[in-house]
């Protein structure tokens, strides 16, 4: 490649940088301006009844206000997180008991019992084919929000098992609904070790939890993360339970009890 050619492309790249900088500046201004509450007061309600009934497109600020639940602040810190590289996977510190307790409590908040499908902590489109896999298919980190990767094969109808944890607007729950005394099975806790230092067995079923990295990988809750996410073949060292996996065994699921009187 000739030096002239190199210089020429260098000049082009410089202009490209300037152009890109301008574009980014515009985008950023637009973005932050959009996030702010509209400074103009709402236009006074028109005397024309048709205009009053017509739907008005919401502003970005309003859209953000409308977003409820845990995802409401999903874009905060988003830009920094974009530079974080998922690879190479690095070893993680061993979780502390406090982190673990926090993770277990957090999981309980979205589940009726250990093993129940979690409820959805954010709003969803109630009607269309859910777009859940856009974020949860491979898992995603955006700012301080983590969309965990689904722990089971990608079934198509997500809303078959997962419902929103909070009433979809505009519906509101009655205030005096009877309570429920169900006490769900608690977290199985840690797996058993044959001796201190032995790899623990899996304390829970693998049905619907066959992708270990979903909870135990680097994007899992800090208290549940494995110290060695770089190792991908989990079942090499960690045994599953035949009883919990309904493969028979005393008193486990899958065992048909003898006919009783």
């Amino acid at each position: 490649m000739s030096p002239e050619g190199g210089q020429g492309s260098g000049l082009g790249a410089r202009w490209l940088h300037v152009g890109a900088a301008v574009a980014v500046a515009f985008a950023a201004t637009g973005f932050f301006a959009g996030l702010r509450a509209p400074e103009m007061p709402e236009r006074p309600v028109a005397s024309d009844p048709h205009a009053r009934r017509a739907e008005r497109a919401p502003s970005y600020g309003e859209l953000r206000e409308q977003r409820r639940g845990d995802n409401a602040r999903m874009y905060e810190g988003a830009i920094e997180s974009l530079s974080e590289e998922p690879f190479p996977v690095k070893p993680l510190p061993v979780a502390t008991p406090e982190q673990r307790a926090r993770a277990v409590a957090q999981r309980q908040g979205h589940r009726a019992y250990d093993g129940a499908p979690p409820t959805i902590p954010h709003e969803i489109d109630q009607r269309e084919v859910p777009g859940c896999l856009a974020c949860h298919g491979k898992g995603m980190t955006l700012g301080n929000r983590v969309a965990p990767k689904i722990s089971h094969p990608p079934y198509q109808s997500c809303t078959q098992c997962h419902v929103v944890g909070d009433s979809p607007r505009p519906l509101a729950p009655y205030k005096d609904i009877p309570g429920n005394g169900f006490v769900g099975l608690a977290s199985a806790g840690k797996g058993e070790r044959a001796w201190p230092g032995a790899p623990p067995t899996m304390p829970h079923p693998t049905l619907m939890r066959d992708d270990c990295a979903s909870c135990h990988g680097p994007r899992g809750l800090p208290g549940l993360r494995t110290s060695h996410p770089e190792r991908l073949n989990c079942q090499q060292c960690h045994g599953s339970s035949a009883r919990l996996d309904q493969r028979g065994g005393a008193g486990g699921p899958g065992l048909v009890m003898e006919a009783r009187p």
Partner: protein, 806 residues
């Protein structure tokens, strides 16, 4: 900090507090729950079919310290293969609502006061003695098979009357008449295996993504495996199911008959119907004068003539479905190289022409030969866990006797008199009142012909689910001599207006058996104790029967003078079943089932002995014993390759043919306008139905926090354009009104579904917003099933002034 930030902060704090209370479905105000033992230690797991819909999934129930603590999908279950839906995963919570009924309650003045079981049973018995013929029992497909059988024996064998009907009348009756008119025998020929094999799935007025989610995902998950399945939605509103479909056809309510006739017309005119199949296995039928379920025989040429008016253009004009889509459907049916399965449920059944549209869809499959091969099947789904097993097979209906028998046939009555060992002539030959008639007469003063004085409701909630409740239920509550008895687990809409409430055990608090939509009979054992004094529904029936015996009522004795429900223990002595302390000394379910099993052979619905069901995750009848002594289920009825009752060498044999020549009937039925259509006064169509979170009237699911929060209240769904015209937005209160009643509801636009312009949808699960005060009690002439899917309504915006005052 400005006002905005302050508000945000407050909201966040409130939300955090709320979220912390929601952990494990507990409210801290209700007391901190004891923590379950960790590590899954001491958890006993056992199988049971899910309590809710007619799909019949098996769950594994985890029990710890006498309480259900967890649910898992049963991986050995052929129906669901380890998967469940959100209701199934939370079915264990249905037992633990804080307002479970735990003691019998008698209405005194305007209060319900606790009484003893002895007193309660005596009251029921004395209501029978008042006039046994006017004592009705109203149950549902939520009865287990042994419970339904006990109810049938109580009413038909004991009282010698036929005043027994069930909620299935509101749900499945038109499917039954469709099967009877077409094949001469009830229930689908195919099974869920068709869903794994079909190339095309046509859903007629059906939203399985919400109503039968496990079956729906069984089909669409095939796409994840790279298989191609074409999904076609033929319905009156856009639903979650529509979103998955390759073709979504919107038709004007009631015009499904025109669509089916239009497809048949094209098949005949294009010569693409299956000539060989039709010539070998079918005959043609048309409505007769006067109208009967059998109709009249017609020739193929007459059939062709009758279909002539249903050209694609004419059908487009009637139904609104484009002619090109009709041609697309006819082309699919005309192909021999694709397998087509049709699914339907309430859309076709809750229809004043329910029998006719069921017949027409069966007819399309027969005409095109899309029948009897895996993946080629017309399959109706059921809404209740044992609509098939109990109501249809045991026959807890006003005209029926167990095993497909009918009260009108002397031969059938004689057979049941022999099985029940009751004197000849005990069984009454005149059918009792069907559901709507039973409730109408209950709500009519005795002196004006209201000859039903007492109704005993078990396992259902008619005050919420009957249509036009202002006419069928409410008047009875103002008549002093009418007495309503309700056996239930929660204070449902019906229990609250009852004169006597009996607390029932539910699901795994008792032994049980159910039968799902694919002829699969399932069994489970009692795993936990019912709360307080709640007791099995079958025990309640047997205890009343025994009380009647003690009061000298002859009907509760067989012809040898023994108690009608006598069960002998191992020592050969009768077990005092009426004493609940001894009810589980024997397995009453097994005894009732083994007696019932004797009745099932005449219609080739053979069942295996009880222990076979203990071992299996259900078996599909006919279950036929093999030379090696084993029991084999049947997946595809009438198909030579699978059904042992088909003559050797025949591909297809309709061995219960109405014409006794092994032929099924291909019906013609004309399109006719519905009994009530929108007009200038009531310009909207009103449709009702379910949502995925709630099952039936929501008595159980509205007490499950996860489900209740996800779908907390009823709403009215309307088209965006209609909302704009009315000047209402999301969440605004409107008044929906029909000629029968009115109801205030919040509007939900772009919510769960989207009706076309000019139609409304309201779910019926919410006991505080009872839409069935508005629905129509017009019904199909044969099945007597009412139409909940269409009537004329109007909507008014609730004025803001009224809002402020309210």
């Amino acid at each position: 900090m400005d006002r905005r930030d302050f508000l945000k902060g407050t909201a966040m704090t409130a939300a955090t507090l709320a979220a912390s209370r929601l952990a494990y479905g507990q409210d801290k105000a209700a007391g901190t729950p004891p923590a379950a033992a960790p590590g899954g230690q001491g958890v006993q797991w056992d199988k049971a079919p899910c309590r809710f819909c007619g799909t019949g999934c098996h769950v594994q129930v985890g029990v710890q310290n006498g309480k259900v603590v967890a649910i898992a999908g049963d991986q050995q279950a052929p129906v669901n293969k380890g998967l469940l839906c959100v209701k199934g995963y939370h079915v264990g919570l249905a037992l633990y609502g804080s307002d479970r009924l735990t003691t019998p309650l008698l209405k005194k003045g305007d209060k319900h006061v606790p009484i003893s079981w002895e007193e309660a049973i005596d009251i029921v018995a004395r209501r029978v003695l008042k006039d046994p013929k006017g004592f009705g029992i109203y149950g549902s497909g939520q009865w287990t098979i042994p419970e339904g059988y006990a109810a049938s024996k109580f009413v038909k064998g004991g009282l010698g009357s036929n005043q027994l009907d069930a909620n299935a009348r509101l749900c499945m009756a038109s499917a039954v008449t469709g099967f009877l008119a077409t094949y001469g025998v009830d229930e689908p020929a195919g099974c869920y295996d068709d869903l794994d094999a079909c190339d095309v799935l046509i859903m007629w007025g059906n939203n399985p993504a919400e109503m039968h989610p496990v079956l729906f995902s069984r089909v669409i998950d095939r796409r994840s495996r790279g298989e191609k399945v074409t999904l076609i939605d033929i319905g009156t509103r856009k639903t979650r199911t529509s979103g998955f479909c390759d073709h979504s056809l919107r038709f004007k309510p009631n015009t499904d008959l025109a669509i089916a006739c239009g497809i048949a017309h094209l098949l005949v005119e294009n010569g693409t119907y299956d000539k060989a199949f039709v010539e070998a296995n079918c005959a043609f039928r048309a409505p007769s004068e006067p109208a009967t379920l059998e109709g009249k025989a017609i020739t193929f040429e007459e059939y062709r003539e009758l279909l002539k008016p249903y050209t694609p253009e004419k059908v487009e004009e009637i139904s609104g479905v484009p002619a090109k889509d009709l041609r697309m459907l006819a082309d699919l049916f005309g192909r021999r190289d694709v397998r087509i399965t049709s699914l339907w449920c309430m859309g076709m059944n809750q229809h004043t022409r329910g029998t006719a549209i069921n017949n027409l869809v069966h007819g399309l499959h027969l005409l095109s030969g899309h029948f009897g091969k895996p993946g080629d099947a017309p399959t109706s789904l059921t809404g209740q866990p044992s609509a098939c097993g109990t109501v249809r097979e045991v026959g807890t209906l006003a005209h029926a006797l167990p095993g497909g028998r009918v009260v009108a046939k002397a031969e059938h009555r004689a057979q049941m008199e022999e099985i029940w060992n009751v004197p000849k002539g005990r069984l009454h030959d005149k059918p009792g009142y069907h559901t709507l008639e039973m409730w109408k007469r209950f709500s009519t003063p005795t002196e004006q012909g209201g000859d039903i004085h007492t109704i005993w409701v078990q396992v259902t909630n008619p005050a919420q689910t009957l249509p036009n409740t202002h006419k069928l239920v409410d008047p009875s509550r103002k008549l002093a001599d009418k007495f309503l008895i309700v056996s239930d687990v929660y204070p449902s809409a019906t229990a609250r207006i009852a004169d006597l409430i009996l607390p029932s055990a539910m699901w795994v608090e008792k032994n049980g058996m159910t039968g799902n939509s694919e002829r699969r009979t399932q069994q489970w054992f009692k795993m936990v104790r019912p709360p307080g004094q709640a007791r099995d529904d079958a025990w309640q029936l047997i205890a009343v029967a025994h009380r009647l015996l003690a009061l000298g009522f002859e009907g509760m004795k067989d012809k040898d003078g023994r108690f009608l429900f006598e069960v002998k223990g191992k020592d050969g002595k009768p077990v005092p079943l009426w004493d609940f302390a001894h009810y589980y000394d024997v397995n009453v379910d097994e005894h009732l089932f083994e007696e019932y099993r004797k009745t099932t052979r005449i219609k080739h619905k053979d069942l295996a002995p009880y222990p076979e069901y203990v071992k299996a995750r259900g078996l599909r009848w006919p279950v036929v014993q093999q030379p090696d002594g084993g029991w084999r289920e049947t997946r595809f009825r009438f198909a030579g390759f699978d059904d042992p009752y088909v003559k050797k060498g025949r591909d297809i044999q309709f061995y219960h043919s109405t014409t006794h020549d092994d032929r099924a009937q291909i019906w013609f039925s004309p399109y006719e306008p519905p009994p009530e259509s929108p007009d200038t006064e009531f310009p909207f169509w009103l449709c009702t139905g379910r949502v995925i979170e709630h099952w039936h009237s929501g008595t159980m699911t509205m007490r499950i926090p996860q489900l209740q929060r996800a779908m907390p209240q009823a709403y009215v769904e309307m088209n965006r354009a209609d909302a704009r015209r009315l000047g209402v937005g999301n969440g605004d209160q409107v008044t929906v009104e029909t000629r029968r009643g009115k109801l205030d509801l919040p509007v939900w636009i772009g919510g769960r579904g989207e009706p076309p312009e000019g139609s409304l949808f309201v779910p019926f699960f919410d006991e505080r917003l009872l839409i069935n005060g508005l629905t129509l009690d017009e019904h199909d002439p044969f099945s007597k099933q009412p139409d909940y899917k269409k009537c004329a309504a109007r909507v008014r915006r609730r004025e803001l002034v009224a809002e402020k005052q309210g």
